[in-house]
């Protein structure tokens, strides 16, 4: 088969001469809807800008003054830290719960079901208050035989500060939601994949780790990104613990002191938007990594990253599909 570049008659033309004679010169069909909607949107945006600039309630000088305030920036740091730690811990819990749900062991299935039932079924605020009171409810943890001797014990107060109560509380709640997402991701992997792995002599753990989870991640990452952004905003509830260094608490405290709630709400909103943007970049790279080998992976270069259109070209170029060597076995 000859390709366009090897045939001088079909080589790309320098100028003027179109290599495709009779190319259709198409005129777009009229689309007045596009123009009408554009005009409406422009007018609305101008109105909004006018409203934002001229309304003194927004108090932009105060926004500018406090957007880089030390307390606010520290609040951003704490919020980000809680979000990331709670998501990592939550994902580990969720993966464990999802795998337990698929187990042949009815005890593990039951435990996983009960965990999801409780932590998905109660408000996260209630859970955070509970974890905040944990050191009061459970002042001491001891290792021993129930009702029997006690080998060793420690005071929870020393090891469970409000920060970790917040992280653990958010992670346990998140894990219950993520468990269902991960379970559906694991179920989305074709059954032939685990059969092929079994036929190669791989064990169940290996099949899960090496074959099923990497493919399930492709389905899991987009909702996981959603959940991370949700978590970012849920951290504003950690005052229930109470943990009082996060972004929402910091801006609220300043707002109460200045008696100016609106500019500091804008400060908080702008920071949440900024963090979300950063997280979206991270999601893009995760999706690209776990999409490797699949046709719909976004962008990039190199043999692994071409789309469906390139597949046939790759097949043809390889010329490993013999054209004429029909089987001697066929009559």
């Amino acid at each position: 088969m000859s390709t366009a570049s090897s045939d001088p008659a079909l080589a790309p033309a320098r100028r003027g001469a179109d290599p495709i004679p009779g190319r259709i010169r198409a005129k777009r069909s009229p689309r007045p809807g596009t123009w009408i909607s554009a005009v409406i949107v422009v007018l609305l945006v101008l109105a909004l800008a006018n409203f934002l600039v001229t309304n003194p309630v927004f108090d932009w000088p105060t926004v500018a003054e406090y957007i880089l305030d030390v307390k606010v920036v520290q609040g951003v740091g704490w919020t980000l830290l809680i979000t990331v730690l709670a998501m990592i811990l939550g994902t580990v819990i969720a993966l464990t719960a999802a795998i337990m749900r698929r187990s042949e062991n009815p005890v593990l299935r039951g435990v996983s079901w009960a965990y999801i039932f409780v932590f998905r079924g109660t408000p996260v605020y209630t859970q955070l208050v509970f974890w905040g009171l944990f050191t009061v409810i459970v002042p001491k943890i001891a290792l021993g035989i129930p009702f029997g001797p006690e080998w060793f014990s420690f005071s929870t107060r020393d090891y469970f500060p409000a920060f970790w109560a917040a992280v653990v509380g958010l992670a346990l709640n998140e894990g219950a939601y993520l468990a269902e997402i991960i379970r559906s991701g694991l179920n989305s992997v074709d059954k032939g994949q685990s059969e092929a792995s079994k036929a190669l002599g791989m064990g169940n753990g290996q099949i899960l780790r090496r074959i099923i989870i990497p493919q399930a991640m492709r389905v899991i990452v987009p909702p996981l990104g959603n959940e991370t952004i949700g978590m970012l905003k849920t951290t504003s509830l950690v005052l229930a613990v109470p943990f009082t260094l996060d972004l929402t608490f910091a801006t609220n405290a300043i707002a109460n002191k200045l008696y100016a709630p609106i500019p500091l709400l804008i400060v908080a909103a702008l920071w949440y938007l900024a963090i979300t943007s950063v997280l979206m970049v991270g999601q893009y790279y995760l999706e690209r990594y776990f999409g490797r080998g699949f046709d719909d992976r976004p962008g990039g270069a190199g043999p692994a990253k071409r789309g469906r259109r390139a597949r046939q070209a790759a097949v043809n170029r390889s010329a490993t599909t013999p054209k004429n060597s029909l089987p001697e076995v066929e009559q």
Partner: protein
């Protein structure tokens, strides 16, 4: 007889040298031995009392109408299906259970680990290829040698490249399955199975999902394998392949093995009406 783990580890260098010929040692047990294998899904009896023997180096081709139980029989050989009744032995070793029943007459199932070790000795190629889409062709072939046999990555890579070369895909090693044609994918799948140095290979309609012009390249690889002395059980509708390559053709219908024999006996001189009808529809 109880098995020591050594018996089951995947070391079969001793077998390889003799597998190039079709000589059968009279005293050794048949490589594949199915005894009264029966499979029922509820009231549906997919396999009915099937007996089949395949000697080392033989190529057995299973033919029959769809739904006749060919694939299920094949999947019983490497325990992707558990027979409801009957026994499967590979090289004299009962698959999936201990050799002797317990005192109360029940059979002790093997642990998942030991079942995995038994499967590792049997290569299988599927109709839909079932390559791992998130790995390149090379990674697909290296996966099991590294993670099941514990080979070093360097050694596994070298062997995998040699195998890809052997199936004519030496220059496709770094490509993902989605960038390969069906025939190329199936040849990678064959290389992946061969990388485990199996004692026998199972093929479940290996060309049925392929465009007609891609069937030949896969059948050529199968033929070369057969000529190399590999023991093979092949479910296929390719009668030309069966006639040329098979030592034994097995006709199944409605879950039963109705006829078996040489290609000449089964394909050219069928005795039962049902086989004559089937052949008339496919030839």
């Amino acid at each position: 007889m109880s098995q020591s783990p050594q018996d089951e580890t995947v070391d079969r260098t001793a077998d390889r040298s003799s597998s190039g010929t079709n000589t059968h040692r009279a005293d050794a047990p048949a490589l594949i031995e199915l005894q009264g294998v029966h499979k029922a899904f509820g009231d549906l009896h997919v396999l009915k009392d099937c007996d089949l023997t395949v000697e080392a180096g033989e190529v057995a081709v299973l033919i029959g109408p769809s739904g006749s139980g060919k694939s299920t029989l094949l999947r019983c050989i490497n325990q992707l299906e558990e027979p409801t009744a009957g026994r499967v032995r590979i090289a004299g070793v009962t698959q999936g259970y201990e050799e002797e029943p317990l005192p109360d007459g029940r059979w002790q199932k093997l642990s998942p680990k030991r079942i995995a070790r038994q499967r590792a000795r049997i290569g299988m190629v599927f109709q839909r290829f079932d390559l791992f889409p998130h790995m390149t062709a090379l990674q697909n072939v290296m996966e099991a040698p590294v993670h099941v046999l514990g080979r070093s990555k360097e050694q596994a890579r070298e062997e995998a490249l040699a195998l890809l070369q052997r199936v004519g895909l030496g220059d496709r090693a770094e490509h993902y399955p989605s960038e390969l044609s069906g025939g190329q994918q199936q040849r990678v799948a064959i290389a992946r199975a061969l990388a485990m140095e199996p004692e026998l290979m199972l093929f479940d309609e290996p060309t049925s999902a392929l465009d007609p012009e891609l069937v030949a390249e896969v059948l050529t690889v199968l033929k070369e394998l057969a000529e190399g002395g590999m023991t093979m059980v092949v479910v296929t509708h390719e009668m030309g392949f069966a006639r040329e390559v098979a030592d034994k053709v097995v006709f199944m219908d409605d879950g039963q093995i109705l006829e078996q024999g040489t290609p000449d006996q089964v394909i050219d001189h069928p005795t039962s009406e049902r086989l004559q009808g089937f052949l008339a529809s496919v030839l």
